[in-house]
């Protein structure tokens, strides 16, 4: 791949007729060192304005006391917000819930799809019908999913209620039960993402040469040995990717069903860190608290990112 350097551009320019460029570019001279910056400018300005600068601003806001009212002065309070948020029962509950959300997600959303994906892969093209169905929940917004399940789980007329009644079982109002509500949210987010993760595994499996399997089979290896000795090791990079992306998904996207179905309740039993930050910032308008919570979440995400890099490093080590 050759890059067109400014110097070769200049040689071309000497023999070529006048370039039909935009007026700005032609005024600056087509080979000015400024040209690439003109192409980049819109993107860089937007990223600076809406991503990087706000990140710094969040760090600043975490040190002040402010209620988002422009006429109200901001007061510098140092690290007070961190201590206040960290010591609050809301934070402790939200942290614990985040751990539950992630802990439950790994067997349900990360591990369960593996054997199913392997089976689907063994079907070859005959599995196409399954794949299309498995993909459907990815297309539908989480709002739609939340509203649909609110209706199905309606405590009086919902299908779940009536269905269980037919079987002679009285289904309690799951969303009003502090012990059960979080599992409803976990179940719904699993419904949303299970098929998609399966398709990612399928993409990972597609790179495995089927001849290896035939060879192992010839040597008398059973299904289990093939899975353990060949498929599992080759699937590990995909597994890592699915794991990390699912953890991030679980921390962020679950916001929507929490907001629609429980608003963090009953008694904060479904609040996660993300929803806690939202509550601090936009329900109680405690900007300092919200920003301090945001920075703590940022730290947690950074740890996850480092962990991911380390895990990948170790894998690279195995390969040598």
């Amino acid at each position: 791949m050759s890059m067109l350097s400014p110097s070769t551009g200049a040689t071309l320019n000497a023999v070529a007729p006048a370039r039909r460029d935009g007026w700005l570019v032609s005024r600056l001279g087509a080979d000015s060192a400024l040209v690439p910056w003109l192409y980049l400018a819109p993107t860089l300005i937007l990223l600076a304005l809406f991503t990087y600068w706000p990140l710094l601003q969040t760090a600043y806001l975490s040190l002040v006391d402010w209620n988002m009212n422009p006429s109200q002065p901001t007061q510098f309070v140092g690290a007070d917000n961190y201590g206040r948020v960290f010591g609050s029962t809301l934070f402790q509950t939200a942290l614990l819930n985040t751990v539950i959300y992630i802990g439950a997600s790994i067997p349900l959303k990360v591990l369960l799809p593996i054997p199913v994906a392997v089976f689907l892969w063994s079907l070859g093209t005959r599995g196409h019908f399954y794949r299309a169905i498995l993909f459907l929940p990815t297309l539908i917004s989480f709002v739609v999913v939340g509203v649909a399940f609110l209706w199905i789980l309606n405590p009086i007329f919902g299908y779940a209620k009536q269905f269980f009644a037919l079987a002679g079982y009285r289904l309690p109002n799951l969303l009003a039960d502090p012990d059960a509500a979080i599992w409803v949210i976990i179940g719904i987010s699993t419904w949303k993402v299970l098929g998609f993760n399966m398709l990612i595994y399928l993409a990972g499996l597609a790179s495995i040469n089927r001849e290896y399997i035939e060879a192992m089979r010839m040597d008398g290896a059973g299904d289990l040995t093939i899975f353990r000795r060949l498929i599992w090791p080759l699937l590990t990079p995909t597994l890592m990717f699915v794991m990390i992306s699912t953890i991030i998904f679980t921390m962020q996207q679950v916001f929507t069903p929490i907001d629609l179905m429980t608003e963090g309740g009953p008694s904060n039993s479904t609040t996660n860190l993300f929803y806690m930050i939202y509550q601090y910032s936009f329900v109680t308008f405690d900007v300092g608290g919200g920003a301090a919570g945001t920075m703590m979440l940022f730290a947690l995400l950074m740890i996850l990112a480092l962990l991911q890099i380390r895990l990948f490093d170790r894998r690279a080590h195995y390969k040598q």
């Binding site: 910056w37 054997p115 199913v116």
Partner: protein
């Protein structure tokens, strides 16, 4: 690969159960949406008198028409804007060498790792200061820079045969002309894949519109559904009609471009 007989039976059984649990809620939603109010609470999936009244009710009862216009309009602007800015930035990274190029590229790609939560407070305050609160501006402009688009388009441009570009420049075409006349027309597959991703992502977005929309001026379908849910808890027929209406565009795109949509999502790792 040939699995043993009992494993095959178990496999099909598990897959069928998973597929049924995916389809059952959808079936219930569709069934409720075509029921008259007196049948909504009945268990049977096929109503005695199927009706489209719920859809009409939805548009009479709420400003759903207006929400649809807001969603479609801002989504169209975002698709066009994100692709255009992505093409420009990708061209700079793919065809020029300049100082700090790799550092800048790392910074652009790094923005992918920064979730919206981390920047929402200052951005929300900024929208208020700019007077963009509850306008299309707030929905469109902060979302226009798309690292994933820049990354994918740059890769495609770098594998573009440089002979074609050199030939174009011999004929006197400048960078601008080369980009739009020679490179972009050949980026069809990459651009259509990105269009699908950005379209679905923008159509289904929830968190940011929840913060910056307040009235019919800019409220999108997803936020309209939330409002409807909170105002008319009992009108389940119309609510189900609403979520079907909200899902139709993405599902239609999927039905038309099945393979491409699936491949695009899987290879980008974006979870809807």
């Amino acid at each position: 690969m040939q699995l043993s007989r009992p494993l095959q039976v178990v496999g099909h059984l598990v897959l069928l159960i998973i597929c049924l649990s995916i389809l059952a809620p959808m079936l219930i939603v569709v069934s409720t949406a075509i029921k008259l109010p007196n049948e909504v609470y009945a268990l049977s999936l096929w109503p005695d008198v199927p009706t489209l009244q719920n859809f009409a009710h939805l548009f009479e009862q709420t400003a759903f028409g207006r929400y649809t216009w807001n969603t479609a309009g801002t989504t169209a602007l975002r698709v066009a804007g994100q692709l255009a800015l992505g093409v420009l930035a990708a061209y700079a990274f793919a065809r020029f060498t300049f100082r700090f190029r790799d550092a800048i590229f790392a910074l652009v790609i790094g923005a992918m790792m920064i979730p919206q939560v981390l920047t929402m407070l200052p951005n929300y305050i900024l929208m208020a200061q700019l007077g963009w609160f509850d306008t299309w501006w707030a929905l469109v402009v902060p979302n226009l820079a798309t690292p994933i688009a820049i990354f994918l388009l740059r890769q495609h441009m770098m594998s573009f045969p440089s002979e074609l570009i050199d030939a174009a420049q011999m004929d006197g075409a400048g960078h601008w002309t080369t980009l739009w006349r020679v490179i972009v027309p050949n980026l069809g597959p990459a651009l259509s894949a990105l269009t699908i991703i950005i379209f679905i992502d923008s159509w289904n977005e929830y968190f940011w519109p929840l913060l910056v929309t307040e009235s019919e001026n800019s409220r999108t379908i997803q936020i309209g559904l939330r409002e409807f849910l909170q105002d008319d808890q009992d009108d389940y027929g119309a609510l189900m009609a609403g979520i079907i209406f909200a899902s139709v565009p993405a599902i239609a795109v999927f039905l038309f471009f099945q393979r491409r949509v699936m491949d695009t999502f899987v290879s980008s790792g974006l979870k809807g």
